[in-house]
C-alpha cells in the first residue's frame, strides 16, 4: 500500500491507516499479483523484488464491486441528507466502480442512533464495519472503547454492552470521528450546519496545551462549526478533546466586543480612539512622573510569537522597563 502511495497509484481503501495495525478487514484494496492464485490485500502484502502487481485488472475491479454491493446491502442509503454526502468513501468507490445498486436485498438493520454524549452521534445503520475506530481507540488513545459485537450479518461495532460513551472509558478525544470513512460517527456541532463542499477547512494550531497539535477548523458562513484532523504536524492527526471540541468559546456571547473604561466603578463602552488616547495619556503621564520602573507588563502564553515580540518591545522601548514576564512559568 505504501509503495503504491509513494508511486502515485491510488488503491482504494476503507480500513487502512498508516498509524494503525493492518487489519485487512475491508478487502477493498485487493490487487492481482502475477503468479499468485488468489487476490491479495495490498495493505497486508509487503512488496518484494520483481513483484508484478495489477491494481485495476478486471478481476480486481469485479472483486471490489462485489464488496461494495455487499456493503450497500446493509447500509442506510439516505444519501440525500447524509452529513457525509460528497465526502464519503463508500459513495466515492461506488461511483468509481459504477455500483448503482445491489442484488442482495435483505433486511437492512436499523440501529437506534446514540445521541447521548455532548459531542458526537453514533449512527450504526451507516457503519461499514471497517474497524478503524476500534483499532485507533485501542492503539492510539489506549481507551479500548469499541469492539465488534455479534457475527456475520449482525456484526456491529460498538462499545461494551452497547453502553453510552459516558459509561465507558471514552476520553472524548474525537479521533474516531475523524477516521470514520462514512457518516457513522459525526460531530453534533456540524449536524445540519452545511454540506461538506460548503465548509471551508483552515489548518491551524490548537490553542490549548504546549503539544501544539495541528488541526483543521471547519468554517461555514464565518462561523466555526467543527474540527477535523490534520496530519501535517507532529501530532500526525491525533487530537484530544480540548483540541477537538474546545473551540466554542470563539463564538461565546461573553466575548468582549469593544473597549471599556471604568467610570464611577462601572464599565462604559467607548470607541477605540478614545480608549487608546486615554491609555496613551495615562501611560505618558506616569512615565513622566515616575519613569519606567513604575511599569510592569504581563504577556500571554496564548498570544502568538509576533504579539509576544511586540509586547516586550513595547514594554522595553516605549515604557522603558524590563519588568515584563508572562504568567505561564506555570
Amino acid at each position: 500500500m505504501k509503495a503504491a502511495e509513494e508511486n502515485g497509484i491510488d488503491i482504494p481503501t476503507l480500513c487502512y491507516d498508516e498509524r494503525l495495525t493492518v487489519t485487512g478487514a475491508c478487502r477493498m484494496c485487493v490487487v492481482e499479483v502475477k503468479g499468485a492464485r488468489k487476490l491479495m490485500a495490498a495493505c497486508a502484502t509487503p512488496v518484494s523484488d520483481g513483484m508484478e502487481v495489477l491494481t485495476e485488472s478486471d478481476r480486481v475491479v469485479e472483486a471490489r464491486r462485489e464488496i461494495l454491493r455487499l456493503l450497500i446491502a446493509n447500509h442506510d442509503l439516505r444519501c440525500l441528507t447524509c452529513e457525509r454526502n460528497g465526502d464519503c468513501r463508500l459513495q466515492d468507490y461506488c461511483y468509481r466502480y459504477k455500483v448503482e445498486d445491489t442484488p442482495y436485498k435483505g433486511a437492512v438493520i436499523e440501529y437506534p442512533v446514540d445521541t447521548d454524549n455532548p459531542f458526537f452521534i453514533r449512527d450504526y445503520s451507516k457503519c461499514i464495519r471497517c474497524g478503524k475506530c476500534v483499532t485507533l481507540c485501542a492503539e492510539i488513545n489506549g481507551a479500548h472503547v469499541y469492539d465488534f459485537m455479534h457475527r456475520g450479518f449482525d456484526t456491529k461495532v460498538t462499545s461494551a454492552y452497547d453502553d453510552t460513551l459516558q459509561e465507558t472509558t471514552c476520553t472524548f478525544c474525537g479521533m474516531c470521528i475523524n477516521v470514520c470513512p462514512v457518516a457513522a460517527l459525526v460531530e453534533k456541532s456540524t449536524l445540519w450546519e452545511g454540506r461538506p463542499w460548503e465548509v471551508k477547512k483552515v489548518t491551524t494550531t490548537c490553542p490549548y496545551c504546549g503539544v501544539g497539535c495541528q488541526l483543521k477548523l471547519k468554517v461555514k458562513d464565518n462561523r466555526i462549526i467543527g474540527v477535523t484532523a490534520d496530519r501535517s504536524g507532529s501530532n500526525l492527526g491525533d487530537l484530544c478533546g480540548k483540541g477537538q471540541f474546545g473551540w466554542a468559546y470563539v463564538h461565546s456571547p461573553d466575548r468582549l466586543t469593544g473597549p471599556l473604561i471604568k467610570r464611577n466603578s462601572a464599565f462604559v463602552k467607548v470607541s477605540w480612539e478614545e480608549a487608546l488616547n486615554y491609555v496613551a495619556a495615562r501611560f505618558t503621564d506616569i512615565l513622566n512622573r515616575r519613569g519606567g520602573q513604575a511599569f510592569a507588563g504581563l504577556s500571554s502564553a496564548k498570544a502568538t510569537n509576533e504579539e509576544n515580540y511586540l509586547f516586550q518591545k513595547f514594554m522595553r522601548t516605549v515604557l522603558q522597563t524590563n519588568n515584563v514576564d508572562h504568567c505561564a512559568r506555570l
Partner: protein
Amino acid sequence: MTNSINEILETDVILVIGSNTTEAHPVTGYRIKQAVRNGKQLIVADPRRIELVKYADIWLRHRPGTDIALLNGLAHVILRDDLWDKEFVAERCEGFEEFEKTAAKYTPERVAEITGVDAELIEQAAHLYGEAEKATIIYAMGITQHTSGTHNVMAVANLAILTGNVGRRGTGVAPLRGQNNVQGACDMGCLPNYYPSYQPVEDPAARSKFERFWQVKLPEKPGLTVTEMTDAARRGKLKCMYIMGENPVLSDPDGNHVVEALQNLEFLVVQDIFLTETAQLAEVVLPAVTFAEKDGTFTNTERRIQMVRKAIDTESKAKPDWQIITELAQKMGHPWQYPGGPAQIMGEIAQCAPLYGGISHQRLEQEGGLHWPCPTPSHPGTLYLHADGFARGKGRFHSVEYLPPAEEPDEEYPLILTTGRTLYQFHTGTMSRRSRLEELRSEELAMIHPKDAEIYGIRDKDTISVESRRGKVTTKVQVTDQVPPGIVFMTFHFKETPTNVLTIASTDPVCRIPELKVCAVRVEKIISNPPVDERDNYVGVYKQ
C-alpha cells in the same frame, strides 16, 4: 524539549516525573502509551495514581516535594553500580567530581526515608534507566512548580548527562510546557532578564545591539518577575500594569494577594477576549481576538514553530493583540509601522533573534513547522539539540541538595495540598469552560484518600472547606486512592473554587516559579451530599 515528541517512540526507557501527561498533554500521553504497547519500558514517579501508572513497569510514589532526593538517589545507584557513561562525562561534561560527592550522600536507604519509596524500587528504577541504550525523562509542572523548581530541573539534567542520554535521537529531557505558547513567549523575550532569543539584558553587547536595532536607549537592570511584580505593587512601588491575555487572579498563587496588589495600582490595563476576573479589576479593558481570527505563529514544547491561521473575520470591534500594541505605540509617539502584519513582524524577529534567523511565514507555509534553532533561511531546523556538543561548551553537573518544601504539614494544618490540571478543563477555564467540555466536568472535585476521609467524616461528593494560612475555599470532594494518605489534590480551573488563594507565593530563588505544588491545609466537612440519613436509607434499601 531537547528532542522532538515523536522520538518518545524510539527510546527504550521513559522516566515520567511530575507530569500527568495523559491529562495535561494528552497527545504526548498517547505517544508514551504507544511506546509501552510497543514493548518500551516506563518508570513513573508521581505521588498520585495517575493513568500512566497502569502502563508503568515501576511506580515510584514519592512524597510531594521530594523529587531531588529521589533523582539524586537514582544517580547514586547508577554511580555505585557503574552504570554511567564515563566517556560521555569525560568528554562533554564538567563539575562531575562535586556532583559525585553530593550523590554519594543519597543512599537508597536515606532516600527511602525522605521520599517514602522502597529502597528496593529505587535500585530497580536506577538499573532500568541506567542500563538503557536510549532513555528519556519527561517532566512538567510537577517538577518546576516548587520552591526548588530550578534545582529539580538541574537534578533531572544531571541524570541525563550522567548516562549520556543527550544529543542523540530518542534520548534527552522533555519539559512539557503547560500553555500552547509558553515556549514562544520565552523565546520572544517576554522575560525580565532576556531579550528575544535569550540574549541577556545584563550583557552590554546584547543591550547595545538591541539599542541599535530598536533605535532607543534601553534600561540596564533586569526587571521583575511576575511574583515580584505582585509584591512591588502591594508595596506601592509599581504604579501601572499592562496585562495581555492572562488571568493572574486565578492562575497565580496566593490569589487574595494578587487582587490586593492589582487594586493598589494607579492604573491597570487589561487586554483579553473575555472580561476575566483580572479584567474586572482594570480601569481600561481592550478587547482582543481569538486564535481563529488572526495570523501568526505558536512555538510548541518541542521548539516547533507553526502557523496560526485566520479562519474567520471578527464580528465585533475586537482587534488582534499585535494591532492594538502597534496602535498604542504610535499614539505614544513611536514610529511603529507593520502594514505587512504578522508576516512582517516575523521578519523583524528573524533579524534580531538568531534562533529564529531562518524563519519566515513564507517558509512555514511551504515547508510546514520548523524546529529552532533555525539560524538561516536554508537551515532545515533542529529536531534534537546538542548533537555536536552543548551550547555552552560543556554540559555542567549541578550539585543540588534536597530541601524540605517551604511549608510542611503540622498540627494545625495537617494535610498537604498539591495542585494540577484535569483532562477536560484548561488553566483558569476562561476558554474551556465556554465550550461543551463544561458538560463533562463543571466543578472542582478535591481528591482525598479514604483513610483521611474517614478521619474527617467525609464521604464522596460531600462539600468541604479547605483552608490554609492564606485563605479558604469550599469544594466538592472525591474520595479516592488515586492520592496517597495525607494529601489533597485540587485543580485551578474553576473560579467558584479559586484554589490559588490557598497556595504560597514563596518562590524558587533562581527561576521564581511560585510554590504551587505543595502547601499545608486543613479540611472540614460543610455539607453532606446526599444528606446522611438519606444515604443510610439507600443502604437499607440495598440490604433488603
